[in-house]
Amino acid sequence: MSGVIFLHTLRRTWLQMVYWGAGLGLMALFTAAMVPFFDSMKMVELIQGMPPILLAAAGFDADLQVLATPEGIVTVGFFGKFALIFAAYPVVMGMRISANDEDSGVMEVILSLPLPRWQVIVERFLAYSLTIVGVGALVYVGLWLGVALVDVQLDMARMATVVFNVVPVLIFVLAFTALMAALLRRRQRALAVTTAFVVASFVIDTVAGIAGEGLSQSLRAISFFSYYDPAGIVEQGLNPDKTLFISALAVVLALGSVWAFRRRDVGL
């Protein structure tokens, strides 16, 4: 691999990465800065009075005592919906791996150069994966600044785990988008299927959370959102099995996108 496509992709994407990172980082900063103004015990009492179904729907499926800690407040206040907001980013970038250039005709120029097709997909996939880490890093910086601003005590090592544990999940979304673009050819079709997949995953995760134990929990495993559990990390630490599984799945889907893109007509 020459790395030219990788570097070119990074050069073209770094600004969007900064915008996304700055936006999400500011949200993290404000959330951290608000921590001293929360009366966490009152909040816990209030939440405990809510019906369990509403608690689950709102994403409070961990031990409510977690809320009494600064880490818990930040987790519920920001990281509860962090993956959902951030999931739009790998979809946008995943479309750039092949679909956008194929749609515009640029792919015809790229593939007429002495480059194997797999190299285009792999280098772009790696570059966009790196920008996901970059956005995560900026979110962590935002959180750190918020903590520094109000002098709140936060376990920053644990918060780093919370922030960066979203990366494998989002790389999975990136790989899924790349695979759909490689399989479906048409940009609009790939975007529609990927968006439906993200929305369906969110609905399954939420509904399964409300439903409680049983079959719904098994169903929940098919939602990629279930592989990012910030409250669980704050409460019990990282679940490496989940992280490894979603990472392996991302690799399989990425390889699938390479396979699909190599064997078909391009630019029709």
């Binding site: 030219v4 640029v106 015809e108 120029v109 790229i110 593939l111 007429s112 002495p114 480059l115 630019g267």
Partner: protein
């Protein structure tokens, strides 16, 4: 030596009732050191052929070798020695011409920067503009520089002169002749007969996915006909029946203007006009479609 050789190359899009046979059992040879014109109306299968040769799409059956290499199995090695200009050139709109050139040069590797500079100067290309601000002609020039930058053994150009002004077309022609003189080869597609006549050595004519004929370009119009328009001072002074003259047909008269179709030599017509005062005489080459119809009727080979 053949730089392009296809054997029963066929491409079918879709299936069932939506099946479209875009290219049908193409057998074609392009020799080293020639400029080969690939001529056909829009939708004839020219771009499909080019995409198959460059492994952008895969054949339904048949095979192609380019520069002695299998177009599909050895595409990466092949692309090192081929320069390509697509018919509808799309580039990164937010980047400047210089950035696009640098990227493609980096991806190709081993590009002679002095030659690159010489090309951009010759084509008078402003490299500081963003691609989105280029006119269609300038975008075409940028595409030509991209195709030529590595001094390829084979140039594959899809409708290369669209949008170029006459001066640039002249420079383009010169570059094509230089390429041929250096022993390199050019395969260019076009639907414009004059463009092909101006620079090509041989022409392949494609129609509805089938190669109808391969001819020396000089023979292409010799075996055809021309349209002649005469502006005469007195129509009444014209010989009685122009149609009776050898090679003359489809005569129409409007005021003092006469239009006729002439096959073969001019001499019988010129002799017949000796008594008439001819103010103007215009000769038009037949259009591509007219050549098709004149030679092959409804597509049947004579």
């Amino acid at each position: 030596m053949a730089v392009i050789e296809t054997r029963d190359l066929t491409k079918i899009y879709g299936s069932g009732r939506q099946e479209l046979r875009a290219l049908d059992q193409l057998n074609l040879q392009v020799q080293q050191g020639e400029i080969f014109g690939y001529l056909g109306p829009n939708g004839a299968g020219k771009t499909t052929t080019i995409r198959l040769l460059l492994d952008l799409i895969r054949p339904s059956s048949g095979s192609a070798t380019v520069l002695g290499m299998d177009a599909q199995a050895e595409s990466v090695a092949l692309h090192k020695r081929v320069g390509f200009l697509p018919g509808e050139l799309a580039l990164w709109k937010g980047q400047t011409g210089a950035q696009v050139l640098r990227l493609v040069a980096d991806l190709r590797g081993g590009v002679d920067l002095a030659y690159l500079r010489q090309l951009t100067e010759r084509l008078q290309l402003d490299l500081n503009m963003r691609v989105r601000n280029y006119s269609s002609g300038n975008r075409r020039k940028l595409g030509l520089v991209l195709a030529l930058m590595n001094k390829p053994d084979l140039l594959v150009l899809d409708e290369p002169t669209g949008g170029l002004d006459p001066l640039m077309q002249q420079i383009f022609n010169e570059i094509m002749f230089e390429t041929r003189d250096e022993g390199r080869s050019v395969f260019l597609s076009s639907h414009l007969l004059p463009e092909v006549q101006a620079i090509c050595d041989r022409v392949g004519i494609l129609r509805q996915g089938r190669l109808i004929t391969v001819e020396q370009v000089s023979r292409l119009t010799q075996v055809g006909f021309r349209w002649v328009r005469l502006q005469v001072r007195d129509v009444a002074a014209l010989p009685g029946r122009l149609e009776a003259l050898e090679g003359v047909s489809e005569v129409s008269v409007e005021d003092s203007s006469v239009r006729l179709r002439l096959s073969g030599d001019f001499d019988p017509l010129l002799r017949a006009l000796q008594e008439s005062y001819v103010e103007e005489l215009h000769v038009h080459e037949p259009t591509l479609e007219e050549i098709f119809l004149a030679y092959y009727g409804n597509g049947e080979t004579p």
